[in-house]
């Protein structure tokens, strides 16, 4: 059961508020003295909004609602006044002070916190909300004072939000890092081959310059044994990681390096095709062997081509070895960071789990209330109300990001 009342911020409205709380109770008093408590807390809170919430002379709106709880009630008061938590700071009253020393003011909010079983302030987008709980079902006594030390597993909303934000941030960070690592992990060969290709292009260009530079007047490519020297020297400089050969324009091999045969067979007609093309690198080959070729020119005329071939298997083996090393490092890092990740997961999951538990409790209460309605009575009404209220609270909490 819930009832609402909208008033304007004017002390003349107080009698309406009191009559409204009486109508809500309708002669019942489920909690000893609830009527008097509701009168007092409603009057003090409404008076506080009128006298201290809205600027003087403005009669802004005040929305009240009362809902039944098993053995009690919850009074909610919302306004559109500037944000202000009346319960922030120290509002205790020295009840041991003498008549002369007692302050004449400050009793209203003190009475509210003493009479209600729990008071919660919530800032709204435009205004303030105060909820006062009465009865045995009220959550533990609390007036959300900023100085109050929070329970270890129940941090205040701001702190909890910061925690969850940090946890989410780290989670996303770790996932991105893992994805980037995995992608690079798979791309090792590609990276190696790309790097090698750039290196080979450079080697090939240097070798071509050397060969072309040695092609003097009257020499032909076939008779220029400097080319043999150049390719032998280049291959030996790089420990035979690749092979070089020179062909004439007809596709006949003129020189090869002193080592074994080239790893990759040249595509048929490569030399003939290349001389008609512009200068540049022509790539060929497959998984068994890769190569790159470049045209050789004498006095601006194509006289043959220089080709470099290599075995990609060597690089694959190196990539495999590095992959193994990285896998071991990753496992070691995982072992080191696992407790940290577990802690983060715990920080994120605890509020979520609490929300689920509340929801589950609410549902089970509803189920209990539903069964009991077969022997309808006041208790059953409360069971249903309680269940509905708990579900409402759980859903609202979930919407608020699991505020405890």
């Amino acid at each position: 059961m819930e009832t609402r009342l909208d008033i304007v911020a004017d002390l003349e409205e107080l009698p309406r508020v009191i009559a409204w709380t009486d109508a809500f109770l309708d002669g019942r008093d489920p909690n000893d003295g609830l009527s008097g408590k509701l009168h007092l807390v409603a009057e003090e809170l409404v008076t506080n909004v009128i006298n201290h919430g809205y600027p003087p002379g403005t009669n802004g709106p005040i929305r009240l609602s009362l809902r039944a709880e098993p053995g009690g009630a919850v009074l909610r008061i919302e306004d559109e006044a500037p944000l202000f938590d009346p319960f922030a700071g120290d509002h205790t009253v020295d009840t041991d002070a003498s008549v002369e020393d007692r302050d004449i003011g400050g009793l209203g909010l003190f009475l509210v916190t003493e009479v209600a079983d729990r008071v919660v302030y919530t800032p709204l987008e435009t205004g303030n909300r105060i909820e006062a709980w009465f009865g045995p079902e009220a959550p533990e006594k609390e007036t959300n004072e900023p100085n109050a030390s929070p329970a270890p597993d129940d941090p205040p909303e701001g702190s909890s939000l910061a925690w969850r934000f940090a946890a989410s941030f780290f989670f996303v960070f770790l996932v991105s890092l893992a994805c980037a690592t995995a992608l690079n992990f798979l791309k090792f060969e590609r990276v190696f081959l790309d790097t090698a290709a750039r290196q080979y292009d450079s080697i090939l260009r240097d070798a071509r310059s050397a060969i072309e530079g040695s092609l003097g007047e009257g020499l032909t490519l076939a008779s220029n044994f400097s080319a043999q020297v150049v390719i032998d020297k280049t291959v030996s400089q790089h420990d035979g990681a690749f092979h070089l050969l020179v062909q004439d324009t007809a596709g006949e091999t003129l020189f090869t390096d002193a080592t074994s045969a080239p790893h990759a067979p040249l595509p048929p007609g490569l030399a003939e095709r290349m001389v008609t093309e512009e200068d540049g690198f022509t790539r060929f080959g497959d998984a068994q062997g890769l190569g790159v070729a470049i045209v050789l020119r004498q006095a601006g005329e194509a006289v043959g081509m220089l080709a470099l071939t290599h075995d990609p298997g060597a690089m694959t083996a190196e990539a495999e070895r590095l992959r193994g090393v990285l896998l071991r490092i990753a496992l070691m890092m995982l072992a080191l960071f696992a407790p940290f990740i577990a802690l983060l997961s715990y920080a994120v999951m605890v509020p979520v789990d609490r929300g689920h538990r509340r929801l589950s409790n609410a549902l089970s209460r509803i189920t209990g209330g539903g069964d009991a309605t077969q022997n309808a009575g006041p208790q059953d009404e409360y069971a249903l109300l309680s269940g509905a209220r708990a579900l409402d609270a759980a859903l609202r909490d979930a919407a608020n990001g699991g505020k405890a």
Binding site: G36, T47, V99
Partner: protein, 116 residues
Amino acid sequence: MSLEIMAEEIKGVAVLAPSGRLDTNTAKLLEERVREAAETQSDALLIDMGGVDYVSSFGLRVILGAAKTYKARDGRLVLCGLRKDVMNVFRISGFLKILTVTEDRDTALADLCRDA
């Protein structure tokens, strides 16, 4: 939703007997009567709360103000006949520790007259 106040003088003691609700809107009525009583009879004031079924912080404020006034003049203030809910609010506020509260009017008058 109102407050009525009977004022009389018994054996030289000013007696105020409010009846109804002593709240934000009505507390000033009692405040005026306390001021009048203090002006005419400065020694002793008895507030008979038997007819008061509700008191808010504004009501408490007026009673504390009365206590301060009489204390400052070396006079005496006694309250009597507090109902259960009102007594509870007095207890929470700590007023029972600083005010003289008796069960009924006769005890209060006897107390005030003995001192006088």
